[in-house]
């Protein structure tokens, strides 16, 4: 058991409990030493998990867990870097980081707690809220179309793209292990019930729509098929949409070929050669 001084503050029935359980098992199952796992938490209900895990962690600014994680990975690429973030942080406030991390295939595992609401701020619309839904900030109904993060990731060079359902803990924890072991950008968009601020999308609502990609005969090496699955409207496929093996960002940085940057000693810096051009 992990010894933690704080207990979760989530509402009863919150999907975060399930994700938390799946995360703990999924990380242990990687077999990676705990001190080399580092979790970057965004702001939101999910981010409050920062005080409930016994791993090195950084509770960052809203939307910024993504670049903060990249900075740490670039200077110590022996770390396994996980981002815990919500749909607002990843697809709204941090949207530009989400898009650009994929382009670089940064070796970061992003777990999006997608409950289709801003729940820590008591239930406003988020980038994934369906059109027409009435929330506190959209009492006349949301005008925008919801973002499709899976389709975006498939179109934008994501190298590991999955969606899972929070309450399926064993399935999710296995996917987390797989994502952390994937070398490169890994996204798991986790559908998370929020019974308090989004009671419409209940467990039952999800159960009626979810289908497993494995049961649909989907092969994760087929980008076009993955995109078609991502665009389905009548059903919500879960599972691994797409995966490809390609070098991660840090593997392509020449300056990191000799090992993690933090191990390079700065005790003595010799500028003799570099200053020659200033003579």
């Amino acid at each position: 058991m992990l010894n933690i001084p704080y207990s979760p503050t989530w509402c009863p029935g919150c999907g975060n409990f399930a994700i938390w359980a799946a995360l703990k098992k999924g990380l242990v199952d990687t077999g990676y030493p705990a001190e080399k796992i580092c979790i970057f938490y965004d702001v939101g209900c999910s981010g409050n998990m920062s005080s409930f895990n016994n791993y090195y962690g950084f509770h960052t600014l809203h939307g910024r867990a993504l670049p903060t994680a990249v900075g740490a990975k670039l200077v110590n690429h022996e770390l396994k870097v996980i981002v815990i973030i919500g749909d607002g942080g990843c697809y709204g406030e941090g949207g530009t980081h989400f898009i650009n991390l994929m382009r670089g295939n940064h070796d970061v595992t992003i777990l999006v707690h997608n409950n289709h609401r801003y729940s820590l701020t008591t239930g406003q619309t988020s980038p994934t809220t369906d059109r027409g839904v009435k929330t506190k900030s959209t009492p006349e109904g949301v005008i925008e179309e919801p973002i499709n993060p899976i389709a975006i990731a498939i179109s934008n060079h994501g190298s590991f793209i999955a969606r899972e359902f929070a309450p399926d803990i064993s399935r999710l924890s296995a996917r987390i292990t797989q994502a952390v072991n994937h070398l490169g950008f890994a996204l798991i968009d986790i559908l998370q019930p929020c019974p308090v601020f989004n009671p419409q999308q209940s467990h039952q609502w999800y159960r009626e729509r979810l289908v497993n990609l494995e049961d649909e005969g989907h092969s994760p090496d087929n980008r076009e098929a993955a995109w078609k699955q991502a665009m389905r409207a009548e059903k919500l496929p879960i599972g691994l949409f797409f995966e490809e093996q390609k070098p991660a960002y840090h593997q392509q940085v020449n300056e990191l070929a000799e090992g993690p940057l933090v191990r390079r000693s700065i005790d003595t810096i010799d500028l003799t050669s570099i200053i020659k051009e200033f003579k």
Binding site: L2, N3, I4, P5, Y6, P33, A34, E35, K36, C38, F40, V43, N48, S50, S51, N54, Y55, Y56, G57, F58, H59, T60, L61, R64, L66, P67, T68, A69, V70, G71, A72, K73, L74, V75, N76, L79, T96, H97, I99, N100, V253, N254, E255, E258, L261, V262, R264, I266, D267, T268, I269, D270, L271, T272, S273, I274, I275, E277, F278, K279
Partner: protein, 575 residues
Amino acid sequence: MLAKQSFVWKVAGAAGEGIMTTGLLFSKTCARHGLYIFDYTEYPSLIRGGHNTYQVHTATDPVFAQKNTVDLLIALNKEGIELHLKELSTDSLLVFDTEHQKIEPEKYNLKAKLLDLPMIRLAKESGGEEVMANNVALGASVYLAGLDLTVLNQIITEVFIDKGPKIINLNQQAAQRGYEFVKSKYQPLFTAIKQETSHLTMTGNEAIALGALAGGLQFYAAYPMTPSSSILHFLAAKAREAKIVVKHAEDEISVVNMAIGASFAGARAMVGTSGGGFCYMVEALGLAGIAELPLVIVESQRAGPALGLPTWTAQGDLKFVINASHGEFPRIVLAPGDAKEAFELARLALILAEKYQIPVILLSDKYLSESRFNITLEATTFANNRFGLTTNPAPDQTGFFPRYKLADSPVSLRSTPGTTGGTYIANADEHDEYGLSNEDSNMRTAQVAKRQQKLKEALAEIPFQFWQEEPKAVLTFISFGSTKGPIQGARQTLAGEGIATCHLNLSWIWPFPKDQVQKIVTSYPNVLVVEGNNEGQLASLIAEQTGFMMENKLNRYDGSPFYPEEIVDYVKHSI
């Protein structure tokens, strides 16, 4: 005839015509002769077609700033004359090319001497192309400045080494033709005696980049923004040799958060931007404050607000960088006044950031960042100590390491991810000793007090500020950052005319060197605060910190730096 002690050279023409390279080659030729130099450039925010200038002020004695009047003006087009009429005196020589440009110098009623130099034709005759016309002008300039052509040729070889021997030869031949053409018609305007020198020349930005490397920089992130971009370019080019990682991220918000992530993981990290980009970084500045992570931010000012004058200088962000962010946390603000200070303070910034686990802002401006200075480095190898990092952290009964321990010292030991036993949370929320979110009133009060105490301890770091004193002074200048040079230049002139003055230039802005400033404003006569903004931000800061109102102010905020001549005029009229 008495030899002139200083020589002011300028090349002016359209952007894209190689003005900057031409200026650099002339400046290096002067410096290689053992002369002092100060180079000042102007350019609009355009890729091509705008008006560019490069001025080299060179002398046998130290030079500190650009000058109003030029001795030799190379006009590569009509604007090169028309926009600089006021800079020509009866002693000036104007060089142009009537074969190439439809220039009618007689219509300007010029006092200056004229030299029609067929730059394009000579370049082509020497086997080169039109773009090598600048080398013809360079060769002519070298003759007129009394410099050695072999030195220019050597510098052409070094600067164009990557372009191969053919290009180097053509450039040298063009220079030779220019040199010979002028030699047959004119006497040199200046005499330079070649001397051995250990001086280097570099821009403020290059000095910042080198100082940061000396200070153990490991991770640099930036998003391009004039006038900070040349730090990014330089460090990116040297990343492999210096074994650092340089990241051009998608925006300034990503830049600063990446750097904070890098710092959290144990690297010395720095970012560079201008005022607009710094606006984006401000929330993260507070994050570095509350999470107690070292971070260096280079903020090279340009004239704001918003896009302002993108390629022009200003000192308008002084109060912004001192006060940026909501909430309270300690920071250090340093404002180098020349390349030497830029090198030293960039290095110090990285050291202080780690020592106190706080953000340090290095405040530059276009004038310092992109002007070129002489600089002498006492050493080329630099030793660094590490501060506050533990390699064998021990968790307590909670399983966490008390990273933010409340103890006698406000600077608590820091563990980094990957280290067994050091588990803690860096937290943007207020937190307890382990970094776990905590809203308890006593813990909040204690953690704020812990952080704020660091600023009090950092007061001991403040060195003596740049202070020049003359007996029987009639006026005391106070300035900060890059205004140091123009005031030094003005004081040279004033001293020559028997007007004694004193000068305090602040390179350490925050925590404010209150005692030093207070002593000067109360003990020295007729204080004049000179700064590149409208509101008199330094004057107001001095008043706030010392209780003494600063009544005499000289402000400039049109995008140009101060010129020594205007300061001299102001002083003569005010005393």
